[in-house]
């Protein structure tokens, strides 16, 4: 998949995360803010990188503003933001593919 336009998913409520994705010419620029940075910053980074790899994203700007979301929430929000950015969020969600 490819990030084609700017898209967002998630909220800034406690236990959620807000993800913003933007197209970029090359590489992935990942930025992370988190209310639980000191204890979970590395894990959030790892989860985000893995999810982007699963989705086949190789370039784009990805911003994570985390408010203590669990890993499952984080993954779902990243998926939703990416799908919205390439227009597959209304239909054609790859159920059973990269979304399990």
């Amino acid at each position: 998949m490819e990030i084609q336009k700017t898209a967002m998913a998630g909220t800034l409520e406690s236990s959620d995360a807000q993800i913003t994705v933007e197209p970029a010419d090359s590489g992935i620029q990942l930025s992370i803010e988190s209310s639980v940075m000191n204890q979970y910053g590395r894990q959030i980074k790892k989860t985000a990188e893995e999810k982007l790899r699963e989705l086949g994203i190789t370039k784009g700007k990805v911003k994570v503003v985390d408010k203590g979301a669990l890993d499952c929430t984080l993954k779902a929000r990243i998926e939703a933001a990416v799908f919205r950015s390439c227009g597959v969020s209304q239909k054609n969600i790859p159920w059973g593919g990269v979304v399990r």
Partner: protein, 520 residues
């Protein structure tokens, strides 16, 4: 040196006979000589203590650079007096190198964070440190490490001369011109003033700050005119809407209610639940809700509570009004209902000082006669150590309050807390800061199960007999980590930003400056 709860205390803090924490009851039976304040004699009958401004009172009391001033927090988030006085001392009088020794700090005193950053306030001694002040201290902005004490530890330190107060500023809802001062009968009432009593007895100078001048003699009063140097009348001592909520809210959260019900079940399963028992709860949602469930057990078994202790709220007053509680021994009031109740029922609702309440260095504090205490926690680890001071991110944002005092004094200490809060595992492998040692904590009630401290085999038997299921605390911790993931260890710099005293005055833990995680 490693102390009895496994914390490494830097040797440079162990000077002048300071010791690390050695375990509970270590100081029992030891003797000491109480400290004594300087007293200015008021022999002349015409003596008038009224001052027109705070500055005039400060000058009369010899305010100077490097002194220690004290305040109490009965006005809680509605307090104007602490900021008002510090502004006079620093902005008007240009004083510096001040140490502020309060009973607690909250958002009402945010101004002090500016003075800490400017280097005007160099020391803080408190129970609670929250909000901007907590952040400033955590960032290492104080010249000397903050000293954190429990509500019982503070009067102990004052009585033993470890905390010497030059001027105590005591906000009071009413006072007469001579300084008989209390928390009722005025326009902004705070109720019980238990926090302020030790300061009035041991400070060199005592300034009462009130907004309602009462007829002489304004008695009975917790602050006695024989201890008071000056009385200042200001427009408002605080914002009554923030002094207390209308009534400490009873939770409707089904999770809180389930935990509260389980706490009551545990209490009712022990042999200490009998006529005349004594009880204290914190004011957190689930702790407070225990009152509701306990009531039905009391009625069912025809048992009355002998006394309730500590901070009071409307529902314990209501329980007393139903005839189910003998006496209320009140250190502070959390809502307006309770403040009014204190004023209306002098025969059964009593104000007590924090030394009477919880000091480990007098001849018998009330906490030592407490059967049950139900308390909250920010974190509890598999050794039952509790943290109520630092967030899981290592920043100061809480208060030991009466937690360690009541835990050690009571026969059964129950901690009630959800297993996780957001992504924070409340039940964890090692708490960030030990505020209450694990061997004083007996039962943990969470939304995923109950655990009993293995040191209390007697309680385990009680629960088994009552068919109350319980699990090991390790299994609760594992469950928590399976939900939120295993947290990384926090990383610290060497600099100690706060010293946490055990209630007996030894060093229980230190808080170092946090090294924030920066992702590359």
């Amino acid at each position: 040196m490693i102390n009895a709860v496994g914390r490494n205390i830097p040797d440079e803090l162990l000077q002048d006979g300071r010791e690390v924490y050695q375990g509970k009851y270590y100081m029992d039976g030891k003797c000491f000589k109480k400290a004594g304040p300087q007293v200015r004699r008021c022999e002349k009958p015409t003596e008038n203590k009224l001052c027109t401004t705070i500055r005039e009172a400060c000058e009369k009391c010899g305010a100077h650079d490097g002194m220690t001033v004290s305040f109490h927090h009965a006005l809680r988030n509605g307090d104007y007096v602490t900021s008002m006085v510090m502004e006079v001392l620093i902005e008007e009088m240009g004083l510096k190198d001040l140490t502020v020794a309060t009973t607690s700090l909250g958002s009402a005193q945010d101004l002090l964070a500016d003075y800490i950053e400017q280097g005007k306030i160099i020391g803080i001694q408190s129970s609670g440190v929250r909000g901007r002040i907590g952040e400033a201290i955590s960032a290492g902005k104080l010249r000397t490490p903050a000293i954190i004490r429990s509500h019982g530890g503070r009067p102990r330190a004052i009585e033993m001369g470890e905390l010497h107060i030059d001027i105590a500023f005591t906000a009071a809802s009413t006072s007469d011109y001579c300084g008989n001062a209390k928390g009722t009968g005025g326009k902004n009432n705070c109720g019980a003033m238990g926090y302020a009593v030790a300061d009035s007895h041991y400070a060199d100078h005592v300034v009462v700050v009130t907004d309602t001048l009462a007829d002489y003699p304004n008695i009975p009063a917790p602050i006695d005119c024989i201890d008071v140097d000056c009385v200042v009348v200001v427009d408002e001592i605080g914002d009554p809407s923030k002094i207390g909520t209308k009534e400490a809210r009873m939770t409707e959260d089904p999770r809180d209610l389930m935990m509260a019900e389980n706490c009551a079940k545990v209490i009712a399963a022990t042999p200490y639940f009998k006529d005349g028992f004594s009880f204290q709860t914190g004011v957190g949602g689930p702790s407070l809700a225990v009152n509701r469930f306990l009531e039905s057990y009391m009625v069912e078994r025809n048992i009355k509570m002998g006394f309730a202790l500590g901070g009071m709220s409307g529902n314990i007053c209501a329980l007393q009004d139903k005839g189910l509680v003998g006496k209320l021994l009140d250190t502070q009031d959390f809502d307006m209902v309770t403040i009014q109740h204190l004023a209306d029922h002098p025969d059964k609702h009593f104000e007590i000082s924090t030394s009477e309440y919880a000091s480990a260095a007098n001849k018998g504090a009330y906490v030592n006669h407490l059967d049950f205490v139900v308390l909250a926690a920010l974190e509890i680890d598999t050794k039952f150590n509790v943290n109520v001071l630092t967030g899981s991110d290592g920043v100061l944002r809480g208060a030991p309050g009466g937690h360690p005092d009541t835990a050690e004094g009571s026969k059964v200490c129950i901690i009630v807390t959800p297993l996780v809060r957001g992504r924070m595992a409340t039940v964890c492998k090692d708490v960030v800061t030990v505020t209450t040692p694990g061997d004083t904590v007996d039962v943990l009630v969470t939304d995923y199960g109950i655990a009993v401290n293995p040191l209390r085999q007697d309680l385990i038997e009680c629960l088994n007999k009552a068919d109350i299921p319980h699990v090991s605390i390790e299994s609760l911790q594992e469950k928590a980590y399976s939900l939120v993931g295993t947290p990384d260890d926090l990383e610290w710099e060497n600099k100690v930003i706060a010293v946490l005293e055990a209630r007996d005055g030894t060093i229980l833990d230190v808080i170092r400056k946090i090294k924030p995680l920066v992702l590359e």
